[in-house]
């Protein structure tokens, strides 16, 4: 009896973390916050949320250092142009890194350099293998996204919300490809 009577006030002293300090939010709260970002995107920039175009913008400038001729390709030149939409999206993805960093600092969480799931998914803990694989996977991800003209954000969040047929097809096959690869090429995590 006396022991438990001491425990209760001690627990009451532990302050509940504020919303920004919490390690995880409900996926529904976070999803609503992300969906609401369409409002400033459409009203201020006249575009929808997206991420993968910015890779062409940044990649175009990096490639131009080695091959200035790349700006002769219309597709690349269009993405490198000094337009609000192009650079808004580059700033958006940079902001994503900053926002995740801030959220992490506020919650006091720490990540290891490589998620522990990869050791099980790959059957090895070799960082070199994981880094090489990440590079190849990133390559496929953006080549596919540019071919489909959108990624999880542009086709997924924005295209589906706009009831576009192209986006519904792209997202369906994105899950088909993702499920097939995760099932056939990776071990169960």
């Amino acid at each position: 009896m006396t022991a438990s009577a001491h425990i209760v006030p001690a627990q009451a002293q532990v302050r509940r973390p504020g919303m920004f300090q919490q390690k995880a939010w409900s996926p529904y709260v976070a999803g609503i916050a992300i969906g609401l970002l369409q409002v400033p995107a459409f009203l201020l920039i006249s575009t929808a949320l997206g991420a993968s175009s910015s890779y062409v913008t940044v990649g175009g400038f990096i490639a131009a250092l080695v091959d200035p001729g790349i700006i002769q390709i219309d597709y690349v030149a269009k993405h490198m142009a000094a337009t609000g939409k192009n650079w808004w999206q580059v700033a958006l993805v940079a902001g994503v890194a900053l926002g995740a960093f801030l959220s992490m600092k506020l919650s006091g969480a720490h990540r290891r350099p490589i998620s522990p799931i990869w050791r099980r998914a790959l059957g090895t803990s070799s960082p070199a293998l994981r880094y090489a694989m990440a590079f190849g996977a990133g390559f496929l991800m953006l080549f596919g996204a540019r071919l489909a003209d959108g990624c999880t954000s542009g086709h997924g969040l924005s295209g589906m919300a706009q009831m576009a047929v192209s986006s519904t097809i792209a997202v369906t096959f994105m899950f088909v490809g993702g499920i097939a690869a995760a099932t056939l090429l990776l071990r169960r995590i």
Binding site: V58, I70, W87, A91, G95, L140, A145, S166
Partner: protein, 208 residues
């Protein structure tokens, strides 16, 4: 809006986006690979909630005549092949083109390689585009939407679609409560039976 203001707007919106991705835990490789292996549904929950929210707010803005929709053109081969390649990349990266930046912000080192590979992939597509365009980015029905297919107006269709998604989400949450999908370190990692610190000793053969 000037270029500079657009950049500031993008940065501010990105911070909110990244903050929400981090709090949702959906940027974790464990969540993304877990979703593709159909053992964790946090990604689908965040994704469908954001689509439903977007559909409702865009329906309102469109209904008041404040915005013009910008659906992407339909090219069947490009949408299918591109979608498949993108999906394979997502599963093997454990990231999407947007969430890889959140992984970098959170301190995952392999995400730097995913980002570098992504930039290389985008540049490679830039070089390939003039050759691929006549094959894959041609023909097709243009900016086809479900409004064209059904004859229903956008606000009605979008709100109806959002309502269906809400029902799906309610059922999904009943089937798989989100708190049970986070894992001890909120990264979608549940360890394997052998790794667990309190793994039952009964797995070991009794020394007889």
């Amino acid at each position: 809006m000037s270029l500079f203001t657009s950049i500031l707007t993008g940065l501010a919106m990105g911070v909110v986006f990244g903050f929400a991705l981090e709090k949702a835990r959906v940027f974790e490789p464990g969540m993304i690979v877990g979703q593709m292996q159909m053992k964790n549904f946090i990604m689908l929950k965040v994704f469908l909630t954001a689509v439903a929210t977007g559909a409702v707010v865009l329906a309102a803005l469109h209904g008041f005549g404040l915005i013009k929709l910008a659906p992407k053109a339909t090219f069947y081969a490009a949408d299918i092949v591109g979608g498949l390649v993108l999906g394979i990349g997502i599963a093997l990266a454990g990231a999407c083109p947007g969430t890889v930046l959140a992984q970098i912000g959170a301190g995952y080192r392999d995400a730097i390689f995913t980002l570098a590979g992504g930039i290389a992939g985008a540049v490679a597509f830039g070089y390939a585009e003039p050759a691929l365009a006549p094959l894959l980015l041609t023909g097709g029905p243009g900016k086809l939407t479900f409004m064209d297919l059904t004859g229903v107006s956008y606000p009605v269709l979008a709100v109806g679609f959002a309502a269906v998604l809400v029902v799906v989400l309610v059922l999904l949450e009943r089937w798989r409560p989100w708190r049970a999908e986070l894992g001890a370190d909120v990264d979608g990692d549940f360890g394997s039976a052998e790794d667990a610190p309190g793994a039952p000793a009964s797995r070991l053969k009794p020394a007889e």
